[in-house]
Symmetry: C2
Subunit: 257 residues, 2 copies
């Protein structure tokens, strides 16, 4: 036992630098300098371009990246990326003094923001153009109301409620899907939002960005202060008026203009 | 045997990122399914948060990520990320019909956009707060005019010139550094920009974002059409008026508000 304790102590003291260097010299393979496979490197750059909006109006996951997107959205990196976004959002939210007038608002998108449709997208191997191409299949899935919560969005949602924010859910889903959307959100663990805004029949001609910006303008017009906005699409976040801070939740599966 | 098992367990729990990755590669050698070590995973999420502006006004590379930032900016992923940004920018630029009035403009930032100061930042191990803290050391480095080109920015710069764009260089460097900055840009391979805008003594009180937005407003006021804007800081890109498309070049080393 003494030997084990000594080893433990040594690991805690030395592990960050000395041991790793020594062992790395032995194995001559440190995992960081090692060249990544070209596909993996390219696809990580592609994913970064999507998340930063450098990719602009993209239409399809590059063929050579479909497996990597699948691995990503089913793996731990997606969850960790989402966690870090949620933590940044919470840290910012805590700096805001929430007034008692009920006008301090945080906006959430729904699909791939509050709830995950990965089960649905998995059917086609994540590889088709966008959900727009498969609208009827997506609507059927949406009506089933089976999408689970994205855990770190649910975490942030509850933290924001605890801080006193009024939560506005703003989705491109159609007004005709209100019941199934509410049912899905509730069964995923979301409660007590201030309002759920869906797209009505007169708004179907607008892009998501135009539609969502116009809804934010209505909120601002009514005196709401939009402190934060969480969405997986840049079209959830950009366009006048913008929230004071916007939080881009990862989504390498599809793009909505 | 029990001791060996415990040692193995300790390795997986305590050894830093590189070792566990190496060991996992030995056992799985897959590259995709392999779980990443927690530090690497967190630091990739942190870098994504920086690049998407989710991190907001950050001040310091997290201590546990300094080695990874060093590996990144000296490695192939940074180059590939920069290449993919440049390719997206070029693809967009090619869609624009450039008029003969000389008013079609693309803006480039200078530091960590056109030229790389990694040699300077390497001195302090990439770990200090920001270049603002080390302003005199940075100015000394800048006066030496030794910063090399970022190769994919130079590639884009030449492509845009070939397409007929007028190139505006907009930097937070001081007007007093004009000569050394020009000298550095030319020795790095940059030629024939339309104008190089530096910060004059009356503009030192502004944030980079305020200063750069005001300069874009002046350009728009003179009738220039700002089609693209390439910068490594969100403060190069945000604020009214924005370019029609903005391209965020990676920089996990420092943040300028």
């Amino acid at each position: 036992m003494q030997l084990i304790h000594l080893m433990l102590l040594l690991f805690f003291i030395l592990a960050p630098t000395t041991i790793s260097q020594t062992l790395l010299q032995v194995t001559q393979n440190d995992g960081l300098n090692e060249p990544k496979p070209p596909n993996l490197m390219y696809c990580e750059s592609w994913r970064l371009a999507v998340e930063t909006n450098n990719a602009g109006d993209w239409h399809k996951i590059p063929h050579r990246c479909t497996d990597l997107v699948k691995e990503y959205v089913n793996g731990q990196q997606y969850i960790t990326d989402s966690k870090v976004v949620a933590r940044h959002a919470q840290a910012y939210a805590k700096t805001i003094v929430v007034a008692k007038d009920g006008k301090d608002v945080w906006i959430f998108d729904v699909d791939e923001t509050l709830i995950s449709n990965i089960q649905h997208y998995a059917i086609d191997g994540y590889s088709y153009r966008s959900k727009v191409d498969n609208e009827s299949a997506f609507e059927k899935w949406a009506l089933s109301a089976k999408a689970p919560a994205l855990p770190w969005s649910l975490w942030l949602y509850k933290k924001l409620q605890g801080l006193g924010f009024h939560l506005v859910l703003l989705t491109g889903r159609k007004e005709t899907h209100r019941n199934s959307t509410e049912q899905n959100l509730i069964s995923a663990g979301y409660h007590s939002w201030k309002t759920l805004i869906l797209r009505n029949s007169t708004e179907t001609g607008k892009t998501a960005q135009e539609y969502k910006a116009s809804k934010r303008a209505e909120l601002v017009g009514k005196g709401y202060r939009i402190h934060g906005n969480s969405g997986d699409q840049w079209s959830d976040l950009l366009g006048w008026p913008e929230a004071k801070r916007s939080f881009k939740i990862p989504n390498p599966m599809y793009h909505i203009p």
